[in-house]
Subunit: 343 residues, 2 copies
DNA sequence: CAGACGGTTGTAAGCGCTTGCACTACGCTG
DNA sequence: CAGCGTAGTGCAAGCGCTTACAACCGTCTG
C-alpha cells in the first residue's frame, strides 16, 4: 500500500505539505499543491481513514440510525442522506436499531462510542430516555428527522399543517363525512407524529364547522394491510359511512383504496381517499397525497450535519432555538379524490 | 475520553495485557482478565476503532454495496446483513451505488480504498468490468449476492429451479396456457437473473410437453406498475388469454393481480398468479409465491464474510470452486393460484 | 536434575497520518 | 530601513492502540 511518505518523496516535499495539500488545511503554494496532486494521481494514493482519524480526531463518517430498513419511507430517506454525504466524501455507517433490546444497547453503549463517527442522524426513530442521554453524552452533533425529543436538534415537518392541508382538500371538495385512519394509542406513546396528524385533522374540521364524530376514527399500524382493515371497518358501518377518508400514511391510504374496491365502492366517485408521504406506489394508484419528499428530508439532514461539523461545534448541539426552516410538503392531487356524489 | 492506559493502571497490568484481554488474542490469565473487565466496566471504556484499526490493520467494518435502497427487496437483505454483522461487533458502511457515474467512481476509487472496511458485500448489483477489477484489486474478501460475475464469490439461488418450481406448481394445478412476465431485454444485458427465470419457465413447460407461445411472454421492469401493464396486455389479447401467469417478482405479480381485478377477472378462479420473492405484501394479497428469504440471504452473506475474515485469507478470494450450498427457496401456496376453471 | 516447553506478562516499536512550533522569505507600513 | 504580518515549509511529537520479542515462571520429560 502506498503511503504518504512515498507521495512526499515523489513530489519532493515533506509529508506535512502533502497532508496540507490534500486536506486543504493550512497554506500550500500552488506549485507544491500541483506536484502533490500529480504524485497522488500517479501513485494512486488514498489517505488511510484510520490513520487520519486517529491523528485528527475526525472520522469523515456519519452514523445513521434507522428503525425499519425494509419500509419504503426509510429507504427513501436513507437514499437521500447517503447521496448527499457521499458527495462530500463522507461515509455512512448504518445502525439498524430494531426492537431487540440487546442489539440496541450494543449500539448505544459500544458501537457509537468507538470514535468511528463524527455525528449521528436518527431517522424517525423512537428513542428511550436513556438512549437520548447516551447520544448527548457522545458530545457530537445529533440530528433527528421527525423524532420526538426536544433535546435533539430535529428536522420536522409541520405535521399538524400537513394533516390540515389534506383535510381541507377534502372539505374544499365538499365532503363532510370524513373519516381518519391514524395510529393506535400505543403507537403514540413514544412517537407523536400520528397524534399531531390527528390534531390537524380535527382542527380543520372544527374550523370548517364540521362536527367531529369519534366513530369516524380508526386506528391502524401504518401498513397497507392495516389501512385495508381500518377502511373495511369504516365502510361496513351502517348509516355511518364516510364519503372521504384521510389516512395518515400512503400505505394505509392504498390499503383503503383496495378495501373500497373490494367492497364495491368506486374511488373517487363514491369515496375520496387522501394519504400522506409521497410513496412510490402513489402514482400507480392515482393516489392524492401530501408529499413530504422523504429523499429530500434525508438530504436536508445530511446538509445540516455537514454544517454542524464545519461550523462552530456548539451549533449542532443546541436544540430548537436555531430551528431551521421547516420541511416542505405539498398537496399532490391525483385521481383518488373528487367531489362527493350529489346526495 | 478514557484510554487503554487508564484501564491498565486501574487493573494493575500493562496495556498489552488489556489489549489481549479485550481482543481475545494471545494468552491472558483468568485473574488478569477479570481485573481488566472490572476496570473496563467501571470506567466505561470502549476501544477506539481508528486506533485499533491503524495498529492492527483490521477495521471491524464491512462495506455493503446496494443499488436501490428504497426497494423492499434490498431493504430486507440489508436488514439481515446488518443484524448478523452487528451481533458480531462489526459495523456496516453503506455505499449506495446508483447510476450516477461520478458518485460510482468515487466509491470504487476512493471510498472503498481508505482502509475503512475489511470486506465487501455486494447486493444484487450489476458491476462493470472495471469495477470488478477494482474490487479484486482491493485484496479483501468480496461476497456478492445474486451478482452476475464468476470472478466474485457469489451466493446465488438456483434461479432456473425457482422458476421451474413456480411453473410446475401451475402445471400441476392443470394449467396449460401459462404466461410469463419477465425482464425486458435491455435489463438482461448486465444481469442474468431474469433470463434464468425465463429459462426455468420454458424448461418446465417443455418438459410437461406444453407448447411455448411467444405471445405469452411480456417484458416488464420488476415494479408493480410494470406488472400491471404487462398483465393488462396479456389479458387483453383476444383468444390468447392465459389461465395463469408466472411473474418473475412479487411486485410484478401484485401488479398482475390488480390488473386482473380491474379487468373483471377473478383471482384465482379465472386466473392464477404466482410470483417470486416473499414480499411483505404477499400475505396481504394472498399471493402464491416462491419465497427466497431475502433477509436470510443477507444473513448468509454476513456469515460467509465473517468466515472469510477469520479463516485463511485466501478462502474468500477464490471464486466458485468452494461454492457454498445454494440458497434456499420454497413455494408458499396462498390464495392466488387454483385449478383452472373447467372448460 | 538439566533442558524443553508452553502459559503469562511487560517493554517498546510501530501503524500512517495531522498539526503545533519554529523558521525563512517577502512585501508592507510608518 | 527597522519592524511586522503572513504565506510557505519542514521537523517531530503525538493520536491510542497492537504485537513481536524477550523474560520469567512452573511443569514435564527423559
Amino acid at each position: 500500500m502506498v503511503s504518504i511518505d512515498e507521495v512526499a518523496r515523489m513530489a519532493g516535499v515533506s509529508t506535512a505539505t502533502v497532508s496540507r495539500a490534500l486536506s486543504g488545511r493550512g497554506h500550500v503554494s500552488d506549485t507544491a499543491k500541483a506536484r502533490v496532486e500529480a504524485a497522488v494521481d500517479s501513485l494512486g494514493y488514498v489517505v488511510s481513514a484510520p490513520a487520519s482519524s486517529l491523528a485528527s480526531g475526525r472520522a469523515r463518517n456519519i452514523g445513521v440510525l434507522v428503525p425499519f430498513l425494509e419500509r419504503w419511507f426509510f429507504g427513501a430517506v436513507l437514499a437521500g442522506t447517503a447521496a448527499e454525504l457521499m458527495r462530500h466524501g463522507y461515509d455512512i455507517t448504518l445502525y439498524s436499531v430494531t426492537e431487540d433490546a440487546e442489539l440496541r444497547r450494543n449500539v448505544f453503549d459500544t458501537l457509537l462510542r468507538r470514535k468511528r463517527v463524527d455525528g449521528i442522524i436518527a431517522v424517525s426513530i423512537a428513542l428511550g430516555d436513556a438512549e437520548i442521554e447516551r447520544l448527548l453524552a457522545l458530545d457530537m452533533p445529533v440530528i433527528a428527522i421527525g423524532g420526538p425529543d426536544p433535546r435533539l436538534r430535529t428536522l420536522t415537518i409541520d405535521e399538524v399543517a400537513v394533516a390540515r392541508l389534506a383535510t381541507e382538500h377534502l372539505l374544499a371538495l365538499g365532503h363532510h363525512d370524513i373519516a381518519h385512519i391514524g395510529a393506535s394509542a400505543e403507537f403514540d406513546l413514544d412517537f407523536h407524529i400520528p397524534t399531531q396528524r390527528r390534531q390537524g385533522f380535527e382542527r380543520a374540521l372544527e374550523q370548517a364547522g364540521v362536527e367531529l364524530r369519534p366513530a369516524l376514527f380508526e386506528p391502524a399500524d401504518f401498513t397497507v394491510e392495516g389501512g385495508f382493515r381500518a377502511a373495511t371497518r369504516l365502510l361496513g358501518r351502517p348509516g355511518e359511512r364516510p364519503t372521504a377518508i384521510f389516512a395518515a400514511s400512503d400505505e394505509m391510504a392504498i390499503g383503503a383504496i383496495l378495501a373500497a374496491r373490494e367492497l364495491g365502492h368506486r374511488v373517487p366517485a363514491d369515496l375520496s381517499i387522501v394519504g400522506v408521504d409521497g410513496h412510490d406506489l402513489g402514482e400507480f394508484f392515482r393516489l392524492t397525497t401530501v408529499d413530504q419528499f422523504p429523499a429530500a428530508q434525508g438530504e436536508r439532514a445530511a446538509t445540516a450535519m455537514l454544517e454542524a461539523l464545519n461550523g462552530p461545534v456548539d451549533a449542532a448541539r443546541r436544540a430548537p432555538e436555531a430551528a431551521p426552516d421547516p420541511l416542505p410538503f405539498e398537496l399532490v392531487v391525483r385521481g383518488s379524490t373528487a367531489r362527493p356524489a350529489a346526495v
